[in-house]
């Protein structure tokens, strides 16, 4: 007997297999009396506060101000920036040294990356990338030491349950809650290990 048959055989011997519809009905009966969200209003403010708690830089801008603000942030750290080809043109500063869709070999030499996002959770200060056209492949926002994410106010869900509903699990997803950190030295959080050590978030509302 191969390993698969043997393991499934042991399991079926303890809990015999049941029709899928019965299993699904049991799953529906799980007691879910927890909250769908812990805060009712002030979602954008809550998101800004929670992201800042992770020692990320949080900036807010009206749509018309966003291009100027992004240009200013990049100018503060001179260097070449990687952006995905699908990033809205208004968010790509004309004066900066921009590499569109950098190759894997170029990433480590970049000063940073600028991307959009797919969704955000206010309660936990989490931003989710689904690596669509405005976000680029996973490596783009991982290898460079600086990551600026543009979040539209409408992308912010109040909490984890509503946020997950907005995502497509068939896409690769990266949930980002603050800059890279570790708790491995005396169980205390220290920002900055392998991922981007500086995270800047521009909320456009």
């Amino acid at each position: 007997m191969n390993a698969r048959e043997e393991i499934l055989g042991r399991i079926d011997g303890i809990f015999p297999a049941r029709p899928a519809a019965e299993v699904a009905a049991d799953h529906e009966r799980i007691d879910r009396r927890y909250r769908r969200a812990h805060h009712g209003g002030g979602i954008v403010d809550l998101f800004a506060e929670r992201v800042a708690d992770y020692r990320a830089t949080v900036l807010r801008a009206a749509p018309s101000e966003a291009p100027g603000l992004i240009a200013e942030r990049l100018a503060a750290r001179p260097g070449r920036y990687g952006v995905p080809a699908g990033l809205p043109a208004a968010w790509v500063p004309a004066a900066a040294a921009i590499v569109r869709d950098p190759s894997a070999g170029e990433l480590d030499g970049l000063a940073g990356a600028v991307t959009g996002c797919a969704a955000a959770f206010a309660e936990t200060g989490t931003i989710v990338l689904d690596h669509g056209p405005a976000q680029g492949p996973r490596a783009l926002s991982l290898v460079p030491d600086f990551h600026l994410i543009v979040v539209l106010a409408g992308q912010i869900a109040p909490d984890v349950p509503g946020g997950l509903e907005r995502l497509d699990p068939r896409r690769p997803l990266t949930f980002v809650s603050g800059p890279s950190a570790t708790s491995d030295i005396e169980l205390d959080r220290v920002e900055g290990v392998h991922g981007p050590r500086t995270l800047e978030v521009v909320i456009v509302a």
Partner: protein, 485 residues
């Protein structure tokens, strides 16, 4: 063709590992270890309490987490078949491993098929459990641990002592010393500032990440109805290992499957707050099979039994399979805080280790027979557990099993039988209490009784007993007529 693999046990008991009481006695005498543990566990306990108190529906989340896990265990065959179908449909390859040896063989063969001799690893309890690094080394493959704490353990030629923070027994100056002595290219002027230590690790591993062709990971959750794998981490080393290599091999215990994407809304609230006391951990990666143009081209998932179906068969013990490896039970445990993780002789230390290791490995060794006793049954672990595992209940259950099946059962059973006989008879209890009071004058040292001679030896060999009061309650009641005299 390679030779047949050597026989391998379910989970290696660390070689030469003494039973818990002997190992603990040594650890308790180590002042520095105790100070490091006290500092770290006290810090995290306070922060975790705050992170949990912030959610006024924590109990409801905990109950949902428990019910989802119990539902999975009761329908494990269904969900594993569904997971396999969906991972395969998304371009991944699923392998099944009955035990550690089989899992190591599968992974080693997959690595060798790529022609590579180096792999980068994300911290993973499952691969610790099966001793994968050692098995790969025997095949000429070097595994680089990339999690900071695992790196500290690996460079220090040490063993992990905590589920979440394997180097918790090391303080910042220990870590600096290890880096200076063992890390290639560590700056000579390295300080013990945590930020400087993290920077040193970043520089040390960067080239490895950028050139690695094979990554190996564990799995926190696997979503059956989409085939999605989920890994939670902090440093970004996980993202590196999951994204940059061409081949990704993930090893998961069969109990890690969850039914649907929606179920993550419970665990993504329970796990970060319980483990690192954060609202959310810095990075969580999810992937479903392979994604053209982004990440590994080749994905393999190894489903590991290794004693889990045997655990599933035990009606009381199976709740240990609900564990999401948060380590909250370690941080609140008075025994863990004093004895440290190494005394448990297993990659799974603390209260959860005391119920998981003997079940996964079977109660065949002194260390596994003694683990169910590595507890005061105070219940703090149960209160802290985000999926409500009644650890004290399982400990008591396993004590009975250790007496029945364990290596020392004649002695232990004799003393337990004697205790039962004494407790059932008031006259004998009186006599025993008088004898115990008398012993107070003779053997009480530092307020504790160590090993006793004679028939009480079997009991005191595995536990220090508090010195009995000078007068038993029963004698006091008789002498004072119930306090009226």
């Amino acid at each position: 063709m390679s030779a047949a693999p050597p026989p391998s046990p379910a989970m290696p008991t660390y070689l030469g590992m003494p039973a818990f009481p002997d190992a603990a006695r040594r650890a308790v005498a180590d002042e520095r270890l105790r100070a490091n543990l006290r500092h770290a566990t006290t810090t995290i306990r306070g922060r975790r309490a705050g992170a949990v108190a912030e959610l006024d529906d924590w109990d409801a989340l905990r109950e949902a987490g428990k019910q989802i896990k119990d539902h999975v265990l009761a329908n494990l065959g269904h969900y594993l078949r569904l997971l396999e179908e969906n991972v395969t449909a998304a371009g991944g390859t699923v392998h099944w491993a009955r035990d550690a040896g089989e899992a190591n063989r599968i992974v080693a063969d997959l690595v060798k098929a790529t022609g590579e001799t180096e792999v980068v690893k994300v911290k993973s309890m499952a691969t610790q459990e099966i001793g994968l690094n050692e098995a790969l080394a025997e095949e000429g493959v070097t595994a680089y641990e990339t999690d900071l704490a695992e790196l500290i353990v690996q460079l220090g030629d040490d063993r992990p002592s905590h589920i979440l923070v394997p180097a918790i027994h090391r303080n910042r100056s220990d870590i600096r010393d290890i880096f200076l002595a063992r890390m290639d290219g560590a700056p000579r002027d390295l300080t013990d500032e945590p930020a400087a230590l993290a920077e040193a690790a970043r520089r040390h591993l960067r080239a490895k990440f950028l050139s690695a062709k094979v990554g190996i990971s564990g799995v926190n959750f696997a979503v059956a109805d989409t085939g999605t794998l989920v890994v939670l981490e902090s440093e970004g080393n996980g993202r590196m290992c999951l994204t940059l290599p061409e081949t990704l091999i993930s090893v998961m215990g069969v109990e890690k499957v969850v039914p649907s994407w929606r179920d993550l809304e419970v665990f993504l609230q329970l796990l970060p707050r319980s483990s690192t006391a954060e609202r959310m951990n810095p990075y969580t990666s999810t992937w479903t099979g392979t994604h053209p143009g982004d990440g590994p081209r080749d994905f393999h998932l190894v489903l590991l039994d290794n004693g889990r179906t045997a655990t599933l068969a035990d009606e009381v013990g199976r709740q240990a399979l609900r564990c999401i490896r948060c380590s909250a039970c370690l941080n609140v445990c008075p025994v863990y805080q004093r004895a440290g993780g190494h005394a448990y002789g297993s990659p799974y230390p603390g209260p959860i280790g005391a119920i998981l290791s003997p079940q996964i490995r079977g109660i065949g060794s002194d260390v596994d027979a003694s683990l169910p006793y590595a507890s005061t049954l105070c219940g703090a672990c149960f209160d802290a557990c985000p999926v409500a595992i009644d650890i004290p209940e399982v400990l008591v259950h396993l004590r009975a099993r250790a007496v029945e099946d364990g290596p020392r059962h004649p002695l232990e059973r004799a003393s337990m039988t004697a205790a039962g006989w004494v407790l059932r008879s008031p006259a004998l209890l009186r006599a025993a209490q008088r004898a115990a009071s008398a012993s107070r004058r003779v053997v009480g040292r530092g307020g504790r009784i160590g090993r006793l001679p004679g028939p009480l030896r079997a009991w005191t060999a595995t536990r220090d007993a508090p010195v009995p009061p000078p007068e038993s309650f029963r004698r006091w009641w008789r002498r004072t007529d119930g306090g009226r005299a």
